[in-house]
């Protein structure tokens, strides 16, 4: 299929439409404005709806409504705006309403900086709202990956009846790359998707069939505990996605996700060319996290794992530690505040460890 040159945010928006997105609500914030702007043009062309919400809170609750009505629905924001969405995300997880949201993350905490950053890692992977629910969280390193992950995200959201997060950043979001776009889902396919949700979708059911009752909470504590147990079993069933490189002979393994992983890959190529044995673990899903990939490291040769991320204090490090389980030392190479990590900084950090 022909490749087209697209900006990350617009590619995400187009992939969403092709996957069947028909309702989007969002509130402006840099660096993700092209998603709502693109969809304001694009959704009416395919009979969908775009609403500029009065806030992130309103937007995510509109998406709760559209998802509850059985439509493929999405919202997007960046960091401080995502915090406001946590209410609706938790409600979707509680009421088991499928939805997709995108965080084109920027420097934090607070309103932070508008430049790219990876400072929302723990919020994205561990506690995206109150109540201990989990989500599948995809982290793209390239625009193509952002497209493919977004396209799949809607299927996962429907399959699980749970929110799915695309955790992107200001670099992948704003760079332009050639991408191959997935096929547009046909009206028949979308009708079949809607039909599959009919039993629970909030459309007003005749009284001779069970009512649709999507509740984010109930009075019956035993029932709610059972739902939490069922949800926990669902979360357990998820399979992490990961890319690993040259772990067998590696004397150093770089652990990185998203844009940091992409820059780290370039650093590894340069290091390998100089004869350094460097491998890599790149989680594509940061939730569920691919801890098992760390068991593939040859700890007889590996001197250390180097966590590379755009967050200070280090956040991805929490999961790296859980994967390494004290089998070798862990070092870090970090930038923060909206500063994009440099290849040479990673090379220097690696050489310092390898001598």
């Amino acid at each position: 299929m022909a490749r087209v040159l697209m900006k990350g945010t617009e590619a995400i928006a187009e992939a969403a439409v092709r996957s069947g997105l028909r309702f989007f609500a969002g509130y402006p914030i840099t660096p993700q404005n092209e998603i709502p702007e693109y969809l304001a043009r694009r959704l009416p062309e395919v009979g969908g709806h775009f609403v500029q919400g009065e806030s992130e809170i309103a937007s995510v609750n509109m998406v709760y409504g559209a998802g509850c009505a059985g439509e493929r629905a999405m919202t997007s924001s960046a960091s401080t705006g995502i915090s406001l969405k946590s209410e609706g995300i938790s409600y979707c997880a509680a009421a088991r309403i499928p939805m997709v949201y995108v965080n084109v993350s920027r420097g934090g905490p607070g309103v932070g900086t508008i430049q790219p950053s990876q400072m929302d890692y723990l919020q994205a992977t561990k506690a995206s709202g109150n109540g201990g629910f989990r989500m599948r969280v995809f982290s793209p390193s390239t625009v193509q990956e952002a497209v493919d992950m977004t396209y799949k995200a809607f299927d996962y959201a429907d399959q699980d009846r749970n929110p799915v997060l695309i955790l992107s950043d200001g670099v992948v979001g704003t760079m332009m790359e050639p991408v191959e776009l997935p096929p547009m889902r046909t009206d028949e396919e979308l009708a079949a998707i809607r039909e599959s949700k009919k039993a629970w979708a909030g459309i007003g059911h005749p009284f001779d069939v069970p009512r649709s009752w999507n509740q984010p909470g109930i009075w019956d504590t035993l029932k709610w505990e059972q739902q939490n147990k069922d949800n926990a079993a669902l979360y357990e069933s998820w399979v992490p996605e990961v890319e690993t490189l040259d772990l067998e002979d590696a004397e150093l393994v770089i652990a990185a996700y998203g844009i940091s992983a992409r820059i780290a890959k370039a650093a590894i190529k340069a290091l390998r060319a100089e004869g350094y044995k460097v491998g890599m673990i790149r989680p594509k899903t940061v939730s569920p996290y691919p801890y098992a990939a760390y068991d593939e490291i040859n700890y007889d040769t590996c001197k250390a794992v180097l966590d590379v991320e755009m967050a200070i204090p280090a956040l991805h490090l929490w999961d790296v530690e859980k994967g390494v389980k004290d089998r070798c030392p862990i070092e870090t190479c970090l930038r923060s505040g909206g500063i994009v990590i440099q290849k040479r900084e990673i090379i220097a950090a690696a050489k310092k460890i390898l001598g």
Binding site: I57, G65, C68, A73, R211, W213
Partner: protein, 249 residues
């Protein structure tokens, strides 16, 4: 024997209401059910309750429903109605829900002219959480968080949601009603019916504000609460049509 009265089909036959004695939430549930039945749309209706005593309805109604996050019912209804324009979406919200935490969602749904029906139950207090001050609490009226009574110097004045929304161009229909006597009750039913008919006809945003009592948190008997409502609440919140665009057409 001829059956001359039947409980509305909206309410599950085997359910006994858990609302306090004298609470008008159950009355309003009945009126909504009757209006939906008479309009023939009961089985394509979806109820979006706010959080508060208003949310207790989810256990009684037979129709599809969800509980919106506190205050967000109008946003949830926006997403639903835009996605499924053929279904009927009714929000049912208390004063804390609609006028305090959900003020922005309410105002903006009204300002966009969303084609939804909003039932706003104004009892001047936070019912479910135990009698805290609401945006609609009367001046001088005691609340657990205003133990000396609402003091305008500190708390400002009661908010009049029909009049506030009447500042906007888009809303189609705004009426304030009550359920304190048979006459007002019948008017409330007519208003609810009209607000739903407007949605069926695609007219846009309709809100019926219903001034009610909360005997439990007002600390009164059901009968005393009716007197208080008549003598005080209805002075602050006068009944009547605030906006009806159908009259301008």
């Amino acid at each position: 024997m001829e059956k001359i009265y039947e409980r509305t089909k909206l309410i599950q036959a085997d359910k006994v209401s858990g609302f306090c004695p004298g609470c008008m939430h159950s009355t309003i549930g009945k009126l909504i059910g009757e209006a939906l039945e008479e309009l023939g749309v009961l089985e394509k209706t979806f109820l979006i309750t706010g959080i508060g005593c208003c949310g207790l309805h989810i256990d009684y109604v037979r129709c599809d429903n969800t509980t919106a996050a506190h205050g967000r019912a109008c946003a949830v209804a926006t997403g639903m109605k835009r996605s499924r324009p053929d279904s009927i979406y009714i929000t049912y919200q208390g004063d804390g829900d609609l006028a305090s935490i959900g003020l922005a969602e309410t105002m903006h749904a009204a300002n966009r002219g969303e084609n939804i029906t909003v039932i706003f139950v104004n009892n001047g207090i936070y019912g479910m959480t135990g009698g805290q001050m609401a945006p609609t609490t009367l001046v001088g009226m005691k609340a657990t968080t205003a133990p000396k009574g609402r003091d305008p110097k500190e708390h400002g004045y009661p908010m009049h949601m029909c009049e506030i929304l009447n500042q906007l161009t888009a809303p189609y229909y705004l009426e304030r009603c009550s359920c304190n006597n048979p006459k007002n009750l019948m008017q409330t039913k007519r208003a609810i019916k009209k607000a739903i008919q407007n949605q069926i006809d695609g007219k846009g945003f309709s809100m019926v504000e219903i001034v009610t009592s909360c005997p439990t948190n007002w600390g009164m008997s059901a009968m005393d609460a009716l007197d208080f409502l008549e003598d005080n609440m209805l002075k602050e919140f006068p009944l009547g049509v605030v906006r009806d665009r159908s009259k301008e057409e």
